[in-house]
Symmetry: C2
Subunit: 565 residues, 2 copies
């Protein structure tokens, strides 16, 4: 890995305020047509019934935390705001919709679509990067029903994967611990091009340090890392291939005319040193040639992949010979990467070897040389490595992180909770799928020790919970589950990110780095038992007594009475 990090070149996360233009979505394929056809057939039916401008309120929320955990990171908000800030149909798009709907649809509808934008839509949301819980709205979207439904599919698409991968990232960080460097390496295995770009962005948000994805570095200013692959190693055949053998010392004071010989001398010294003797025989020469070539190209950034042939019998001795030769010229090698085998065992053996070199040849800090590990890592393998004991400093994680292999989808839904000031409920045979009606306000209540205790949803016009005042928090569907809480701090969760008119006040969109900081800080303030990997304690989500009563009144009202026969 080069120790380079890149400031944002093109700021993909421009600050926005009511006077600035919000750019469109990062992926130009995110347009008003990135939607399900039924949003358009419904829009037509609403329009035909004269109902399209009825004021509707929808909640976007998920029902269950992913990965068997008890928390979720909310992500994807900025892309949603970018979409609605630029939501407008082109003539070509309208022509396509016309060709996709029955010929009987009236022309007036397409005139209506031509004028549609989101100036009459309001979006309240939890700030991006927040820790979030099931059933509590992540977003509340209000506006003319036809328009709000048109944004349903793209909003869900933009939130579901973003939140899933940010959560996955946070969980990997939790297991790896704060001190390790975490690198996202998943582009090649991601679900499509912006599966890869999204993974890089939201992994960084959830606590990763860097990515291998160059385009994500360019778009979002995420630090990018990378050195070489096995192909680089096997592309070399012998030392004779190295034509230009000279290397200037780091301070420019001298030049080593034959760096290859210097390395060979070191390799021989290592081989015959009394602490190492007999551990390895002949190392692979093509590998040595590759390492020397890489070091000549990047003398300040020498990091070698050591498992192309045999880690302990070839890769490590070859690496050390090059690193010691570099050291003679004032350069400090960065370390090695392991990409196969028993990473716990190999990292410990490698560390021992490095310490032996430090001792034998008196090279300060050689024993602290960086060890990066990759190869199908995930939460479980990180946990197993921790339990076994290892000497890895940095982990490169790909497939399992970016495809969220352990659970490939988050089930956010978008439900109508009010229309024309009338609360609506969606029933289901499955209680967990019954929606919580009404335009709501949501609060997080904090306890004495500073931990969040419970989230509570209330009707829009109920008085907010007050600090030091006892409030009854009820489970939305389970009659017996309720508790009094005396909050030490009350935080309103939903903030206005899109006021629907140019003179309304709205939250600014923070930078990716700010969102990442918020995420890390929010994760740190959670009570530890909610966060543990196995059998975490569920965080409580509740409704006010008044909302509880109203939900159950409406439920009885809408459900048909059964007849057992």
């Amino acid at each position: 890995m080069e120790e380079k990090s890149n400031g944002p070149k093109e700021d993909g996360n421009r600050r926005t305020n009511n006077n600035t233009v919000i750019p469109g979505p990062t992926n130009p394929m995110v347009t008003p047509l990135l939607s399900d056809l039924y949003q358009f057939t419904m829009a037509y039916a609403y329009w035909k019934a004269g109902k399209h401008n009825e004021r509707a309120v929808f909640d976007l929320y998920f029902r269950k935390n992913p990965f068997g955990g008890e928390y979720t990171i909310f992500a994807g908000l900025e892309e949603c705001i970018r979409l609605i800030a630029n939501f407008k149909f082109t003539a070509e798009e309208i022509a396509f919709i016309r060709s996709s709907l029955p010929k009987t649809c009236e022309d007036g509808f397409y005139d209506y679509l031509r004028g549609v934008d989101c100036s009459d839509v309001k979006v309240y949301a939890v700030p991006e990067g927040s820790v979030a819980f099931p059933k509590v709205p992540l977003m509340r979207v209000e506006g003319p029903i036809a328009v709000v439904q048109l944004v349903e599919t793209p909003f869900l698409n933009l939130i579901n994967y973003a939140s899933l991968v940010a959560t996955n990232s946070a969980r990997h960080r939790f297991v790896a611990g704060k001190s390790k460097v975490l690198l996202e390496f998943g582009l090649r295995r991601a679900q499509g091009p912006d599966g890869g770009i999204g993974a890089s962005k939201y992994s960084y948000m959830g606590g990763f340090d860097a990515t291998s994805n160059v385009e994500a570095g360019r778009l979002f200013g995420i630090p990018i890392k990378g050195t070489h692959s096995h192909a680089f190693v096997s592309s070399f055949m012998s030392l004779d291939e190295i034509m230009e053998k000279s290397l200037q010392s780091r301070d420019g004071s001298s030049t080593c005319e034959d760096f290859v010989s210097l390395v060979q001398t070191w390799l021989s010294k290592i081989k015959w040193s009394h602490l190492i003797q007999g551990i390895f025989g002949e190392t692979n020469e093509s590998e040595l040639a590759a390492f020397i070539s890489y070091a000549l190209a990047f003398p300040n950034d020498f990091l070698a992949l050591v498992d192309t042939y045999d880690v302990m019998r070839s890769g490590i001795p070859n690496f050390c010979a090059v690193a010691l030769a570099l050291n003679d010229l004032g350069y400090k090698a960065l370390g090695i990467r392991l990409d196969s085998g028993d990473l716990a065992y190999l990292s410990c053996e490698t560390r021992k070897f490095f310490r032996t070199i430090e001792k034998e040849f008196g090279v300060p800090d050689f024993g602290k040389m960086g060890i990066t590990a990759s190869n199908d890592l995930n939460e479980e393998t990180l946990d197993a490595l921790n339990k076994q004991g290892h000497e890895v400093d940095a982990f490169g994680i790909g497939t399992y992180l970016v495809t969220c292999y352990a659970q490939a989808a988050l089930g956010c839904v978008f439900k109508l909770v009010e229309i024309n000031n009338q609360p609506r409920i969606k029933l289901s045979e499955d209680v967990s799928k019954v929606s919580i009606p009404c335009k709501k306000r949501c609060y997080r209540l904090y306890g004495k020790e500073g931990y969040p205790l419970v989230d509570i949803m209330t009707g829009e016009n109920e008085p907010p919970p007050k600090v030091a005042e006892r409030i009854l928090c009820r489970h939305p569907f389970s009659e017996s589950k309720r508790a009094y809480v005396v909050p030490q701090r009350v935080e309103e969760l939903l903030k206005c990110f899109w006021p629907g008119s140019s003179d309304g006040a709205r939250e600014e969109l923070p930078s990716l780095k700010e969102i990442r900081d918020r995420c890390i800080q929010q994760l740190e303030q959670m009570r530890p038992d909610h966060m543990r990997r196995l059998n975490p304690t569920p965080y409580k989500v509740s409704v006010s007594a008044k909302l509880y009563d109203f939900i159950h009144f409406l439920w009885l009202n809408e459900a048909p009475v059964g007849e057992l026969q």
Copy 2:
């Protein structure tokens, strides 16, 4: 679902020949920067060593079929060709790469990058939509090593998910059977925007009939489908909301002034018909209002979601009343959609109800009314429905299809097999990860009954297998596994899709529809035991005797000899 299908509006799959311009990748984010940083650090190291133009051959292949199956559909080729046909760094991209590499990197490298394109690269590939097997190259990419490595990451990204989702689609089609309509409904749960668009494209390729994704319909000409959601139903409160109640008959000969009353009359007739009496009481009025509104908007395309309140006590009777009223005016309703509950049971009960209506009111074919089912369907639930017995005509499949929930990634790799005409091998402790060296040719050998028997890889210059001539096929790594085959037909698998010069002959890129037809035809010609869902027979993949011997010679040559201590 509207019974509408859309021809390609903008052909995302233009035919190409050597004289036409190949457009860029569908997703404009697919650029030469959509790559891992190490491709650039390696390119620099190659350049610095004067090695960047050495002629390399890489194989792109996977090691294991996904989903516990024994076959894979190859997809994503066209996007790869679109990328390399337009592969060129912009000044801004080069500036970004410069800012990402160490300052010590020499200027000459960026001059070199400025001139890089793929005119000297050749791509041989299995045609898109082919059935493919582990270890046999899907693509062979030849060219200057630095350039070929620059395309590694985007190629893997474009192939891995495409092939995975096409395979998933084919597997769902296999379980559902040929006669069912399969609809892709996954956009909202997909891994990002082009996770959704890619899913629509490659699901269609693998055998689905249509998608809900409007943008995918526009880009690729895939039929799009959709009607309404639960929100549409619950947005209505009562029949009083319906202002415009008239509906002209289908042939225009008359107008029903009060369609609402006509529906109500039918509802009452159904309720009190002696065959139905007592099955339901009062149906939900807001649901009835929603159905009537939808029918007034789409009298030729009436398909209703019937599970918002209660399928058998409200949704089905409400639907039938509207469908019968439409029938009076000459319209034929399309059917219903079930999105929750026991789909086997509900579809059978619904069918019974429809047949009763047909009988009771003498409406021909009412019993054959379409039944669509959705709600977290996958291979297993389709299989379970088949075993239980069901009356579903069309399945809408989302999350499990598009995120490939059962296995979220395919592990295609890109391995150096030759450089400067020297074969290269990548070793591994794990035999399944050892690469097959040499620039190879690959053949599929067919038996007497027309089924493919075995794929065989040979060295480039070996004589090809001949029809009716016995050939020894050897397992690449297992000494004892070998068989003589007398092929009745021999098909060369790798064809030239990018000749690397404007005068070379290349395969034309077929349309998506042609690729889909090829895929379906290839799946049909496989021996059934390779295709079954549980415990399928592995299809054999082999090497020639000569290649076998060479692999093992090279392996022994490169591997260090161990010493047990």
